[in-house]
């Protein structure tokens, strides 16, 4: 058996779906952010796998993975800062408690 791009795509698909389930089901803001990181991680695995199999010399996928990591690092930093700001205002991080925009 040789491991091809399809195996990595399947692995990333399973990881992404698990992350999607977590984002949709968790009620804690921090857990939601962690599941978002899991989804970004699955995408990065796909990018690096395609880089290895498709453009091994140019490493285009690896470059995209680097920039994707930059964006998700910024996202988790800002997201956690927002969680802290919300906690300071509301004394809770439950998503159910934030309903001001509900009509």
């Amino acid at each position: 058996m040789s491991v091809g791009p399809l195996h990595f795509m399947a692995l990333a698909a399973v990881l992404f779906s698990l992350g999607l389930y977590g984002v949709l089901s968790r009620k804690s803001t921090i857990m939601t952010l962690m599941c978002l990181e899991l989804m970004a991680n699955a995408v990065n695995i796909n990018l690096v796998a395609f880089s290895h199999y498709r453009t091994p010399a140019l490493m285009t996928g690896q470059m995209f993975a680097v920039f994707s990591m930059v964006v998700s690092a910024a996202e988790i930093g800002l997201g956690l800062a927002l969680v802290l700001a919300i906690y300071r205002l509301r004394k809770t991080v439950e998503l159910d408690a934030m309903q001001e925009l509900k009509g």
């Binding site: 199999y53 091994p56 690896q62 680097v66 800062a81």
Partner: protein, 167 residues
């Protein structure tokens, strides 16, 4: 790293990542979930090594296993008032399960129809030096923009998380 991917290592690391994700979603303790996320990130770094992306494996360990995990743990500890608050009620979601399963099915159909075109591996497997050369020639401008993004995120994070009434 060799140009072929070892099946045994791939299976071990795939088990580690998917098992870690399942454990992260099934545990009720938020702190345990953060540690499972750390395990997933380290296993992903192993997958990058398997794909001969040494630099990315290093960055993955530094940024995700190092910085992001510590940040997540800090915020968990800062937003818990009692130790028992870390244990959360069991919260299954049928809608979430159905949407995630439908998404996985759509991805499965897309993957089975996909015919990969595999390029020939060059004689010399590109290493970290080639990566750096490529990054600072072809990808110079995106690299600088990325540093601006990080600077903006840094300032924004400090601004948002600083004391409530300090204007």
């Amino acid at each position: 790293m060799s140009e072929t991917v070892s099946p045994v290592m791939f299976l071990i690391l795939a088990f580690a990542t998917i098992g870690g994700a399942v454990m992260m979603l099934s545990t009720r303790n938020v702190v345990h979930a953060a540690f499972w996320l750390l395990e997933i990130m380290v296993a992903t770094a192993g997958l990058y090594l398997l794909l001969s992306a040494e630099f990315l494996a290093l960055v993955q360990v530094l940024v995700y296993a190092g910085a992001v995990s510590v940040l997540v743990l800090f915020v968990i500890m800062l937003t818990l008032r009692r130790r028992e608050d870390a244990i959360r009620p069991y919260e299954p979601s049928w809608a979430g399960t159905i949407i995630a399963a439908l998404f996985l099915g759509a991805l499965y159909m897309a993957i089975t129809r996909f015919v990969p075109v595999i390029a020939e591996m060059p004689e010399k497997v590109p290493g970290v030096a080639d990566f750096g050369r490529e990054m600072f020639t072809t990808w110079m401008l995106p690299f600088e923009v990325a540093s601006l993004v990080l600077l903006a995120a840094l300032v924004g994070a400090v601004w948002w998380s600083k004391g409530g009434d300090g204007r």
